[in-house]
Point group: C2
Chain length 381, copies 2
């Protein structure tokens, strides 16, 4: 399959502050983004892709200066791929608070009292709705009055849902994959353990570790290991690692690596702690925790989705996803059906757990291809 | 329901070293234990109760000096209770390596090079089989040639199973509750994250923190929080906490407690870090990881259980237990049935996840009562 090839991130600066759900505001900020494909004459073929916890604006293709830096959804987005860049103009955008280029906690805090130091723990708490507001400004600046679709998986799916509630007239379709209408108590619990691991790491320094020239790597490692367990299904972990040993014989040690799964997890934790920002981890898990459109509608999810009555939805879940199980997607579908909103729902029998949304499963990609084919036809592509 | 009342722990010293599965040995050691009820004339009514990760010899009753110190299985063990101390002589024993009185990492290392310092990280790695060997010596010293039953839940259930393989002639019944024939990759993964949180805590000092007058509380807190999530079912956590907030309004903070579940988990972590030993946590999670009787039999669990052909088994699992799911108990049952071993199996429809084995569920306790009633009759009680 062809790729979009070499891509170059772009940056757009916004001088007007972004009002946030918390009541605070984000002073002037920059969004980093990428685009693939060509915007058509009436600007009707744009698809916005929203990223999840650990991803960025770099959805497809490669960066010239980093061979092997393939975009995180490259198997889905490209020429001839399910989200076909020969027909669509696809936008990937990095959210504020992230650590991949857009304004985040590692950037200078404009508050005069900060004297040019990084935001650190003082970066304002951002929500899914705030991100959507920031994205909407970018889309407007790009000259797009209505998106053909907003697409996201996991936390990205929550952003796609929030678009339909805040800007229903500015998108035709919402494609929400492996997501949920809110976190469960268990989801919040895992986030909280990860956050505790980070903030109790002595190298965290209350979130102002940049000034100390250290990174709370211990906490980040633990956070990533916990996250990773919840991304994989029990079965796929069993199939991939089982009880396989690293060496032929047990060494009987509490600290040595005995099992392959331990080696794999440590490696994932180490890698993550090298590039991910600790404050970003806190901010993004909090955005996950806070997302709860039903709360704003007195606990009634159908009422919450009433503004989206004219949007068309594709909701996709995966049978072995225990982080955001199919039951959570069905809550979304039920709310939409209660509103007589047009929704297609696919529950994909895939073994890979939550991570399935990033993988190339033929049934999953078949559904995505068919849906985007319909969207393309609608917008004359 | 009546309790066994005030109980007094006892201690027994063993001068003969305990050979361990690792090839090392445990020098002279002490086991702390409690007993409830009266051993009958032919010493046929003894039941050994094996403890899990976070428990001890203190199974039932209260300690005179600690009001409210109710034993961890007091709802099951006592006069007129399912394991009836009017009919049985029940023994609870603390395993070596633990932190509740038996010889453990906080005790003096007898190696002359240690110069009287605590074992710390040098405490030898102990396995389920080693614990069973230690327990067998205690049982022998108590003048019991054959136990009426060995009973345990979770890691305690693994010990009960190991008894049937190592000392089949020394027990009549094995009662294995909420357990598994080995840990899955996911189980090992959660243990490994907890261990990494502990050993990377700067206060761990390579396991020799006693000398520094500190305790790796950060790591212990994270370990306990992770453990706690896996003990509860997703549904029971949702029913108990859901998305309930701690205050009426959100405070929009990455570090404040927003949700009740966060408050609960932090409290559990704090409590645990006050009393549990970090080296013990490493040792006990490793004992869990290593337990795998099938490995010794070329991967064939039925072959592994062949020595236990004349033991009778009760295996109990709980529908919402995702740590040791019913499927894992059914593996044990299948291996026993393949050997034509007598086994009763109860899969209890209970909402509480893994923790259900500690709770007073009428169907669960009904099964236990009926089974122990049969055992009592067999031994003439």
């Amino acid at each position: 399959m062809r790729s979009v090839g070499i891509v170059t991130p772009q940056a757009m600066h916004f001088a007007e502050p972004l009002p946030l759900r918390s009541g605070a505001q984000l002073a002037d900020y920059t969004l980093v983004y990428e685009t693939y494909g060509t915007l058509n004459a009436d600007a009707s073929n744009a698809v916005l892709v929203c990223h999840a916890l650990n991803a960025s604006h770099h959805v497809a293709g490669e960066h010239a200066d980093r061979p092997g830096s393939t975009g995180w959804w490259d198997n889905l987005v490209g020429p001839g791929k399910p989200l076909d860049t020969d027909r669509f103009f696809v936008i990937g955008v990095n959210n504020p608070g992230s650590c991949f280029g857009s304004t985040g906690p590692m950037h200078a805090n404009p508050d005069p009292q900060a004297q040019g130091r990084p935001y650190g723990a003082d970066f304002p708490v951002v929500t899914v709705e705030d991100w959507v507001d920031a994205q909407a400004r970018l889309v407007e600046r790009l000259g797009i009055r209505q998106l053909a679709a907003v697409l996201g998986g996991s936390l990205g799916g929550m952003q796609a849902l929030a678009w339909t509630l805040r800007y229903p007239e500015r998108l035709r379709h919402c494609v929400a994959v492996a997501t949920a209408p809110s976190l469960s108590a268990q989801n919040i619990a895992f986030n909280e353990v990860a956050r505790r691991a980070i903030v109790t790491d002595p190298d965290f320094h209350g979130g102002h570790f940049y000034a100390h020239g250290v990174v709370p790597k211990r906490g980040l490692r633990v956070a990533r290991m916990i996250g990773h367990i919840t991304y994989l299904s029990d079965d796929s972990m069993e199939a991939k690692f089982g009880r396989a040993l690293r060496e032929a014989e047990l060494s009987y040690s509490t600290q040595a690596i005995e099992f392959q799964i331990e080696s794999y997890l440590r490696h994932q934790g180490d890698k993550f702690s090298e590039y991910f920002d600790a404050n970003t981890y806190l901010l993004i898990t909090r955005a996950l925790d806070y997302f709860d459109p039903a709360r704003d509608a007195g606990g009634d999810l159908a009422a919450a989705f009433r503004p989206a009555r004219d949007t068309r939805f594709l909701v996709v879940s995966f049978t072995t996803d225990w982080r955001f199980s199919p039951a959570r997607s069905r809550e979304i579908v039920k709310a939409l059906v209660d509103n007589r909103t047009r929704v297609s729902y696919a529950e994909i029998d895939a073994p890979h757990g939550h991570d399935a949304f990033l993988l190339e499963d033929p049934r999953y990609h078949g559904v995505m291809r068919a849906y985007f084919d319909r969207v393309a036809t609608e917008v004359g592509q």
